[in-house]
């Protein structure tokens, strides 16, 4: 084995950092966009066709670029934001560009699952759009949002492995530079095992949390 346990632990920390930070930023961007996407739809509380159409198109554009291309294409933006295009923090920028629009879509689909009757009740009570979103829509969608956020996080783990190859470090980087390029089977197996444990753990955690919240 060409790597020691310290290197593996360091890589694991880098992966967790990349996924954790990009998840937080993606939520900050994706959640409001997803809500906006839902509420501006036809027949919804603040129906606005121009906003919906533009937002919808922009999100589709980002969603249709494969991550490996986005990773490179976005380098100038990354430089602008973090000052460099290599390193763990530089990897976070493309990850957010990847996961933000993805989360917006997932949020939209969670909100679409909310019973229309509940929104009608909100309307009948004279709730403002703001109250409808925070008192009715989000609480009712919470369980489904957690399931979708879990899916997004797991997607981020996969993407972070690719981001690692452009200098971001992390488990994926280790697997490729040692396991693949230097034919170190043991390292390959260990990194894959770590990724499996990570994904399984997250999925179970998400499922349990969502179940705890879900009612009815």
């Amino acid at each position: 084995m060409l790597v020691n346990s310290e290197q593996i632990i360091e890589a694991l920390i880098q992966t967790i950092q990349m996924v954790g930070f990009s998840f937080i930023f993606s939520i900050i961007i994706g959640l409001p966009l997803g809500i906006l996407l839902f509420v501006t739809r036809k027949g919804q509380i603040i129906e606005n066709l121009p906003v919906f159409t533009v937002l919808n198109a922009v999100i589709n554009v980002f969603r249709s670029v494969p991550f490996i291309i986005l990773l490179v294409a976005i380098i100038p933006v990354t430089r602008l934001i973090v000052g460099t295009s290599i390193g763990t923090s530089a990897a976070i920028v493309p990850l957010v560009f990847y996961a933000g629009p993805y989360i917006a879509r997932l949020v939209e689909s969670s909100l679409l699952e909310v019973d229309k009757g509940v929104l009608e009740a909100a309307d009948a009570m004279g709730a403002t759009p703001f109250q409808t979103i925070f008192r009715f829509l989000l609480p009712e969608a919470l369980s489904s949002l957690i399931v979708n956020f879990t899916i997004a996080t797991i997607g981020l783990i996969g993407a972070s492995a690719m981001a690692g190859t452009v200098g971001g470090g992390g488990i994926g980087d280790l697997a490729i530079t040692f396991g693949y390029q230097r034919f170190d089977t043991t390292t390959m197996l260990i990194t894959v095992a770590i990724l499996i444990v990570l994904v399984q753990g997250l999925q179970s955690f998400g499922n349990i949390l969502s179940k705890k919240i879900r009612r009815g």
């Binding site: 009757g117 009948a124 009570m125 009712e140 369980s143 009612r215």
Partner: protein, 343 residues
Amino acid sequence: MIEFQNVSKVYNSGGKEIRALNSINLKVNKGEIFGVVGFSGAGKSSLIRCVNSLEKPTSGKVIVDGHDLTTISKKRIREVKKSIGMVFQHFNLLNSKTVYANVAMPLILSKVPKDQIKQRVSELLEFVGLGDKAQVYPDQLSGGQKQRVGIARALATQPSILLCDEATSALDPQTTGSILELLKKINKEYGITILMITHEMAVIREICDRVAVMEAGKVIEEGTVFDIFSAPKTNTAQNFVSTVMHDQIPPSILNMMERKQALNHIFHITFVGESTGSPFLSQLSKILDVEINVLFGNITELQGIPFGKLIVEIQGADTEVKRALSYMQAQQILYKEVIAHAS
């Protein structure tokens, strides 16, 4: 008070125009229970949804407690909505919140202080008979209990009007009865005007004061429950009334009538109020030389007034039968001869 003035509603769906309401003129008085009945697609929901502006009329005015909903601002409409409670067929409760939080919701939206909310919610839950269910989630309740939560929620802001769109249609007959009792109690104790929509005539008979019959976006008949049930004019109203007031001669008796020539003096007798209680049929057979044979009967109560329909055969000589009829006339009892083939 709710007033519809020439209200029309046209939906555009897939390039097609659907005229759900067609020049509706209707007045619901303060403190009454007003029912709207009609077949599926008649426009009942569209009508009730115009009252709290869930739907905007395409033309015409909707005036609620003096506010013309078609001209005031969005902000004012939200205020008016708080004086109108609504109860839904499928309850529309938040499944993610407890019974307490559901009932508290309208008060939270109105920014009522917490301690007042607490007091009001426990009062309401007590009123609807769910005092022990505050911390329970809706998925742990039966349909009837969910509707009680829905009603408590609708009453939270002390509205002057309660709208019920098929509030009992998802419930079994017994539960329906108890929910109707509750609505009656609300109307009596708080004087809240109730506008309710249903396709069940039994519901109308149970609690309404007045009723409108809708068909194809129009109100085709309107009147007190007593008038509509005792003398429905339109075909549709007659059909609805006959679902709860069977006044057709049963086929087995019709068969008998057709086979047996003897059965030829058949009368349809209507009793109203006092006369329902008097033993006048037995008096008839005592005073005159006739035998009374009751073929079919149905006695019910409409708005607290007894109301009955009987189909009887009067057996006896023609002259005696004639005397029997003039006796009935003198007693102001309505009767109509039934002709076997026509009925």
